[in-house]
Amino acid sequence: MHRLLLLSWVLLMSCFAAVSAQQITGKITDKEGVPMIGASVFVIGTTTGTVADIDGNFTLNVPENAKKLAVSYTGFSTQNIPLIAGQTAYQITLANDGIGLDEVIVVGYSPVRRKDLVGAVASIASEDITRESGATVQSALRQAPGVVVQQSSGAPGSGFNVRVRGVTSVNADNEPLFVVDGVPVIAGSFAQQGVGGQSSNALADINPADIESMEILKDASTTAIYGSRAANGVVLITTKSGKAGKTKISLNSSYGFNEVINKVDVVDGTQYNQYLRERFGAGGDVIGGGGLDTTVSSNWQDLIFDRNPVQSHQLSMSGGDLKTKFYASLGYDNENGALNGTNFTRYSGRVNLDHRATDKLGVNFNLSYTNSDNKRIQGDNNIYGAVSAALLLPPQVPVRREDGSYGSVFGLENPVAATEVYDNHLVTNRIIGNISASYSLLDELSLKVKLGVDNLNLRENVFEPSSLQSTAQGLIFEASNLRTRIINEYLATYTDQFGSTSLSTTVGAIYQRDDIRRNSFETNDLPSDNFPSADAAATPAFTSGDKFGSTLNSYIFSANVNNGGLYVTASFRADGSSRFINNRWGYFPGIAAGYNFANLNPVGPFDLLKARVSYGQTGNNNIGDFEARPLFAGGASYLTTPGISQSQLGNPDLVWETTNQINVGLDMALAENRIGITLDFYQKNTSDLILNRPIPSSSGFGQVIANVGSMQNTGIEAAVTFETFNNADFSWTTQLSAAYNKNEVTELFNDQPQDFGFATRLAVGQPVGSFFGLETDGIYQNQAAIDADNSLSEDRDYIPGAAPGDFRFVDQDGNGIINDDDRTFIGQALPDVTAGIDNKLTYKGLELDFFLQFSLGNDVYNNNLAFAEGLNGVFAPTVRAFEGAWRQEGDGNMFPRIVGGASAENNRQDSDRLVEDGSFMRLKTINLAYSFEDGLIDRIGLQSLRLFVRGTNLVTVTDYSFFDPEVNSFGNSNVALGTDFLTLPISKSVVFGVNVGF
């Protein structure tokens, strides 16, 4: 390292030449002659440049040895204009960029034109990131083919599961690496207080309104440069920067409502009373220890879901001159979830500065600060959850009793109390920033130093008053989690031209350190609910505190070679990670080649016809910081005597998971770049899966961490973009995208299956997230059918205790009895195909866009049905189950008889009865906007004025019987996917907004 530094010093000390100047003028228009106001003109290789005026004219002093001008304007292909000696006036016409092939995007550590890409990269532009209400970094990614985004809960501020080209890991993280302005940022769920399965979302601290573009790197030739963290793809986020010219001030405000996407029909008071009598006999309706009141019929879902307001206000200012550009913003977002009491409030600010100190020296500074307050409500598999109780609590419970206390029975929380008095705030203060300087030592060689910081400070304050069922005398929980990441990066880039061959290479060294410090405590028994303070509590319940962290040392190399239509890139990264012991260093190569057959002239109808192939290796080191170490842990105290015990077997030979990916792609552009087609085929083979390999628990450990197992993802992605119309008055662009991914677990330790969640089994030959259970075969309609089955085995009845009205299960092993051996694979949580249809239309000032999202072939394990349609407990059943319950022969095969006791457990077993098709089509977003004409707004002194109305999740078409199939009760679990158990569904919303430019 020291040597590299020394070298940079020496290089920095060299000098550069001064130049003299001449003046030129020009006019920039589009092909219809409309002046391009604000188009920028640069002398290539210098910072000399200017901006076209209101008539498209510019004047520029160019250095004597200048060779070319670069002329650019957003949405138009950048043109390089050769400077001809003696010519001082230029007429420049810019061509529309159509489907955006001339866009420059940043891939890895170097920029590249989309046309020159040989890897598989999807991009999402600024306007598409914020097109849905309550947008987050992750929600926008679902528009990219090959990216599956699932929101596990509808709680505002809660987490997402993002899967780029399938699932690669069981135990390490499956999320892509998120990189903001070149700095990998902290992502994940860090709340220490569980409120059911819902996770928190550290990426919610990034204001989507500040994002200029996102690039999703999918194939290994583009991700290998990110090494041991790139197996799940990389999402590069570029925040907005200023443009030279007039300072732009814009205000975007919106206001609207969230509403629950759907409700479930649960019995009313009268029906519940009938149900109890059927279930428990004539006197059955008096159970519940006086908690039931036959005179009331509470509709709990109506009481906890409302049309709740959401608002967003974003103010930004950007501009600058040719030397200094800036972007600054302030944001305020306040989103109330459809579930009363849930809220996410975020204040955010950003300053991005770019300054060219000299022709050689540039400095860049990006800093964002976010304060967010996420009010969370208990949910999921949790008797104190609002949605849980709203589904299960009998309607014959009053919201409040006569003495004013909340009504309750069977220990379930009163759903209204859960939304009104449970008080849980997750407060985050976050600073993400980086500062860098780059210096052009030679025309060909530039050096860059960068320091990045991500500081996440998270606090949780929970107060549970005694009016809740979860605590007798009040409870206080507080936690803090401070995470600091520092990244230090040194890069040298060499760019040169040899005849028709251009070469660009980068070498660099990157050092990263993460420190995490956590603590939490809980204390009970408050004098009254008027003292929501830890000071006031009598009985401490627990305290905890720990510290961990990691370091990562990396060295990178990349090269891009371009000759005519041939593009070759190669990259290499060496990563040293503190998480491993005997195998610390990993080496990750990537290579890609592509050839554009239409490089010089169109080939047939194709303006672009580029075949690509790439291969590379990436890793996944995203496990706990100390998981490889054999450890004895403290904290094993008895009464007041401190104790230690063996906590972890560890594995000194543990190594990162390795993914080898091959990608074959084809890019086509037709009809003057108005039709673009991208096709990709890939196969990802992940080996050395880090698994908790099961060992006999008679060892004192159920599992040991080890590299066992492998997994494969094979898929096809297609994206087609049509610019159907594009003229002055009317334009219409359609983008169709579809992705198919087949995931298969190819090896586990001794190929032994492992169980997760309720009924999820990880097994060789099956995709991750497969459901495993009994297969039903209708309902026994009469005793004769049961007797016939019981005669199959001499040892035991087919299903012990079965009676007419009970489910019959299929005897998979044919031994005449139903037991655990008859379980089989009954569904899969991962979709086969995800797809999107995106349409954007403009007519004069009017704009309409809508995005349809498809998820096909995914199942949901709806564990709600075991309770709400199990027809055996005291919980309120659904209307359809109560009315459709089996009561006599011929009553159908859908719902069992109403019966209790242990034999009724048969009817609630893990079976395909609880698996439902979760395929859906959703009108994810629709926006209708009107921009006022220039003439009109000029008179009121504005630059622009646009009004819009935006709908999110307005229409969903699905066969799923509960709230919504986009759900996971297990939050961010890697394997237990697609399970619905009392989970808060996503919201639908309508907001109205205005964009004003000053």
């Binding site: 005398q473 962290g549 005597t641 104790g643 006999p696 008679s698 032994q752 407990g873």
Partner: protein, 445 residues
């Protein structure tokens, strides 16, 4: 120009401070709440901490409710399942499947205790520390071995013969494939460990004592019908001239596992009814148990209460504390059990006067009339009934009694108990991973 270069130099210098110093080295981050194995037990102090770790494993949340109490009491006429967990319901309905996750967790947690004990037993003889006297060292060993004996006792009474693991787990190879030993072999190990504890425990222990070790030996002897041995151990546990009548109910402690609010249990949470506040009511005394209390039995008011028409157990009654912070003890060994063992052994030896003397100590304390007509035909009924109510909801006593006297089928058959229910199945995950383990003769195997 020089100025700009110096800016860049300043930034590079600033940045290089971060990489040049050791902060970014791969060894610069170490845990503070854990240590590597070889540094764990090195002196008297750390050996003392490692022995506290054994008590901590005994305090495991799954063991304190499902292990010591619920699994056995559901699986008998002691308690009923009133909760929502299907895996617990399987115990109540005498239908425990190999895949039962609660059963698997209980099994694993007993072996956590055993492995923690095995670690100390293995490493302690090699620890060199002048301050570690033989007496202290043997006391630590005795605590470890008593903890291990307790775990194996609960295993053998649930599953009969189980894998006998006596060395710490350090590697994950073939040595983990341990076949099930016979029940007699497991009992032999329990006796050896408990006898070591009975001979070596001192005041330096964190609560385990010689009385408790002898009480375990007496209990084991009863399970094995070694009645004469049982008498000797029970006498050693409580002394020759013990008088129970002076000691309030449940205060006749020999050895209890204790808790504090920061490291508590959820037992009362599971026993209490929701009307008490935040209780779950997953378990309730059976109607048969409630009916078994004679009129005037003072123990009933200390064991069972009624609220909202429902009976609930109150032996664990820290209802106001939150789940996980409750401080009710586990009543591992009470003198009353030993007194009733002495009564039973005397009766079996035909000395009914002696049997009545012991039995009536229990009855007098409970405010009940003396029994003076014990004979060959009625003594077992009388003593088992007394044990039923005296030790109700405290552990596996009822199931153990019915099994050791061969009455399990007769008494529990109507509830679903079959001969094959004398054992629970080995957890399926152990069958899958332990190539030497063959499933036992359980009902669902």
């Amino acid at each position: 120009m020089i100025k700009q270069l110096s800016y860049l130099a300043a930034l590079a210098g600033f940045a290089s401070m971060f990489s040049a110093c050791d902060d970014f080295a791969l060894d610069s981050v170490q845990p503070i709440d854990s240590v590597p194995l070889e540094l764990a037990v090195t002196d008297a102090n750390s050996a003392g901490a490692a022995r506290a770790g054994i008590y901590d494993e005994l305090q495991d949340a799954t063991l304190t409710f499902d292990g010591y109490i619920a699994s056995y009491t559901y699986f008998s006429d002691d308690c009923d399942w009133t909760g929502t967990f299907p895996t617990r319901a399987q115990f109540d309905s005498y239908n425990v499947l190999p895949s039962n996750a609660t059963m698997g967790a209980v099994w694993a947690d007993y072996y956590d205790v055993i492995n923690t004990a095995n670690n100390l037993i293995s490493v302690l003889p090699g620890v060199e520390d002048p301050s570690l006297t033989d007496e202290t060292r043997n006391n630590f060993l005795a605590e470890a071995r008593f903890g291990r004996a307790l775990a194996y006792f609960h295993l053998v009474t649930g599953w009969e013969g189980v894998p006998l693991v006596l060395t710490p787990t350090v590697a994950v190879g073939d040595e983990l494939n341990v076949p099930a030993s016979s029940a007699d072999e497991v009992y032999a190990q329990i006796i050896e460990d408990a006898q070591f504890a009975a001979d070596n425990l001192t005041d330096e222990s964190l609560g385990m004592n010689r009385g408790g070790a002898n009480a375990l030996l007496a209990r084991v002897a009863m399970m094995q019908s070694r009645f004469d041995d049982a008498k000797g151990f029970a006498t050693a546990a409580i002394g020759d001239d013990y008088d129970l009548t002076d000691v309030p109910y449940l205060e006749d402690e020999i050895f209890y596992l204790k808790f504090i609010s920061t490291d508590g249990t959820s037992i009362a949470f599971f026993f209490g009814t929701p009307d008490l506040g935040a209780s779950r009511y997953s378990i309730a005394p059976s109607a048969k148990l409630v009916a078994a209390y004679e009129d005037g039995d003072l123990r009933k008011a200390l064991s069972v209460d009624t609220l909202g028409g429902r009976n609930y157990g109150i032996k664990y009654n820290d209802f106001t504390a939150a789940a996980g912070s409750q401080t009710d003890p586990i009543y591992f060994f009470r003198a009353a059990e030993q007194v009733l063992i002495l009564a039973e052994v005397a009766a079996r030896e035909g000395d009914f006067d002696e049997a009545e003397r012991w039995l009536n100590q229990v009855r007098q304390r409970a405010g009940l009339d003396d029994i003076d007509d014990l004979d060959d035909d009625n003594y077992l009924d009388a003593i088992l009934k007394e044990r039923y109510v005296e030790l109700a909801m405290e552990g596996g006593f009822r199931l153990w009694d019915l099994r050791r006297t061969g009455r399990a089928e007769e008494v529990l058959g109507s509830e679903g108990y079959n001969p094959c229910d004398n054992v629970w199945p080995f957890p399926q995950d152990n069958i899958d991973t332990n190539t030497a383990l063959v499933q036992n003769d359980c009902c669902n195997c």
